[in-house]
């Protein structure tokens, strides 16, 4: 709850185009700035935050310390990358901006994002640090981006020169999968010497980590009913999944003799279920892994051969899950139902196929030739063919005249 005025110094030099912190280093900084502003304002509504850029044509103050978050966020847009970072000038301008803060009771703090290499010597940095300490300004350094030889030592020297009573901190963020802002959440930059902003940081950390610390991304302390409901539904799903897996294993033993596709569709059901569940039950899957692999292979083959057919079987498998729920005791009945569903699916698919096939005249004539006792040149056969085609043509003719009539 410390009353504080903060100036954030952003590095917008050419080194910030790099994408090792996703999406670019500059974007990562923007997100971190958003989080910092939020945390500071939340810990004490009278806190103010200001923003300046260190590179580009020169050090430029974008926003003087203000408690208006909207202004700060608006300034983050349209930041241009270019030039080289001028660390000393940036810190000095930040100090000046803090000196002219409106509420003199606020403590002064500067947060520096040091992404590009530091070209100053230790001596210069130490002098700057001493000046900051003399004017009781705290400094937080975020060391990321370029890893120069000697950069950590230089920044360390700056920190020791500034540090008064552990109010200043340095954080090293290596490039990696986690975002810059997520790494910063757990550091003293946010937790503010272990008080105040920690509540904000804890909730943000929970959200960012995707519920890593809690089971379902819901804090049982905040919402116990929701957490309980989620846990119960998870257990139910797991139990159902185990039963389905057992049934599928037995079905597979029977169906493997019948046909590969059906086993794949039943496997499809068991495969579909685990993907829907948040935390798949490993116990049920254990004995089925080998079968699942072969089933997957069959499924893939089926899909590559005939796409419409596979989609039909997919719908059939969805129907299969419903069936298995209803008849989990009687497995033969389930099997029978499954077969019937399969047949209807096949019928509908075969009907569409049939119409296509009939439409292809050359194919029809070739079939007719192969049939014994049928002479394609026979007029009656020709009439039949013509009538079939005529039906389709009539339909087409019907539609345009109707449109003309209209």
């Amino acid at each position: 709850m410390v009353l504080e005025a903060t100036m954030i110094c952003i590095d917008n030099s050419e080194w910030m185009r790099n994408g090792d912190y996703s999406p670019t280093r500059l974007q990562a900084q923007s997100e971190a700035v958003n989080l910092i502003c939020g945390a500071k304002t939340q810990s004490n509504p009278e806190n103010t935050v200001g923003l300046l850029t260190m590179a580009g044509k020169g050090v430029r103050v974008l926003v003087t310390p203000t408690s208006d978050l909207g202004k700060i966020l608006a300034c983050m847009h349209g930041l241009e990358i270019g030039g080289e970072m001028n660390l000393t000038a940036g810190i000095q301008v930040a100090q000046l901006a803090l000196k002219h803060r409106q509420n003199k009771k606020q403590q002064q703090r500067i947060i520096v994002f040091a992404g590009s290499p530091v070209k100053y010597d230790k001596k210069v940095l130490e002098i700057i640090g001493k000046k900051l300490k003399k004017n009781s300004v705290a400094l937080d350094i975020i060391d990321f981006g370029e890893e120069d030889d000697g950069k950590p030592e230089k920044l360390k020297a700056l920190l020791t020169a500034v540090n008064n009573n552990d109010s200043s901190h340095i954080v090293h963020v290596p490039s990696g999968p986690s975002a810059l802002s997520d790494v910063l959440l757990s550091t003293p930059v946010f937790t503010g010497d272990g008080e105040g902003g920690s509540a904000f940081a804890a909730s943000a950390a929970a959200a960012a980590a995707g519920g890593g610390s809690f089971d379902f991304g819901v804090d049982p302390n905040i919402d116990p009913e929701l957490a309980l409901a989620l846990r119960v539904s998870m257990e139910e799903e797991r139990a159902r999944q185990e039963a389905a897996a057992k049934r599928a294993a037995e079905d597979a033993a029977r169906q493997e003799k019948e046909g590969g596709e059906q086993s794949s569709s039943s496997r499809d059901a068991t495969m579909a279920e685990p993907t829907n569940v948040l935390d798949p039950g490993t116990d049920a899957k254990g004995p089925d892994t080998m079968d699942d692999e072969t089933a997957l292979l069959e499924q893939a083959l089926a899909m590559s051969m005939d796409d419409p057919r596979a989609s039909q079987s997919g719908t059939a498998s969805m129907g299969d899950t419903d069936m298995s729920e209803a008849t989990h005791e009687d497995q033969e009945l389930a099997y029978a139902l499954q077969m019937s569903v399969q047949d209807t699916a096949k019928d509908s698919s075969s009907q569409t196929d049939m119409s296509k096939v009939l439409g292809d005249q050359t194919f029809v004539s070739s079939i007719l030739k192969s049939l014994p006792g049928v002479d394609p040149n026979d007029p009656s056969v020709k009439d039949l063919l013509a009538s079939l085609q005529g039906q389709t043509e009539e339909k087409k003719e019907d539609e345009p005249p109707k449109e003309d009539e209209k």
Partner: protein, 181 residues
């Protein structure tokens, strides 16, 4: 300083009911820049602490100190007493009346209300009389210690005491005398 022979008596109330102004200091607004947090301003200002030889105010990054003291009411400042060690005690001291929130950068931009060069005699406990006319209407006082006796890196101050009178309220001793009558 011409007033030195008159200010012969050590500490406490000097001539004509000058009181120790430590009671009128507004502690919530007191600030000291460049102080070592282990050896802070309270050691030199507050009643019990400043008498203790072991407790002193020490500077941190360099030898300069900037002390800001607001008062609860308007006062007239007569004299100041600064005690410190012979070598590391303050030497050049500048006083500013009614200048708020000064920093080391603008401390030389304004002319001081009064400036004092302390000798070792002063540091032993001899108060320094100030230009009284300049301190007639003082709401806040800024003390800038520029350097020390030996030119050391750090400055140490044992005790700081201010003497003067208040403007608005009546002198309590005067009230008592009235009652006696």
């Amino acid at each position: 300083m011409a007033a030195e022979p008159a200010a012969a008596a050590p500490a406490g109330a000097l001539q004509r009911s000058q009181v120790d102004l430590v009671d009128f200091v507004d502690w919530s607004g007191v600030e000291c820049l460049n102080q070592n947090t282990g050896h802070s301003l309270v050691n030199a200002l507050k009643q019990g602490y400043r008498e203790d030889e072991g407790l002193y105010l020490e500077s941190d990054a360099d030898e300069q100190l900037l002390i800001y003291m607001p008062f609860k009411q308007v006062i007239k400042l007569h004299s100041i007493l600064i005690k410190g060690p012979e070598e590391d005690g303050p030497r050049m001291v500048k006083l500013f009346a009614n200048k708020e929130h000064m920093g080391f950068s603008n401390v030389n931009d304004y002319p001081a209300s009064d400036s004092v060069v302390l000798t070792t005699a002063h540091l032993k406990g001899k108060p320094v009389t100030l230009k009284y006319v300049k301190f007639q209407n003082v709401r806040s006082l800024t003390i800038f210690i520029e350097d020390n006796q030996s030119g050391a890196d750090l400055t140490k101050v044992q005790k700081i005491a201010l003497f003067g009178t208040t403007v608005e309220t009546t002198d309590m001793k005067g009230l008592k005398k009235m009652e006696d009558h």
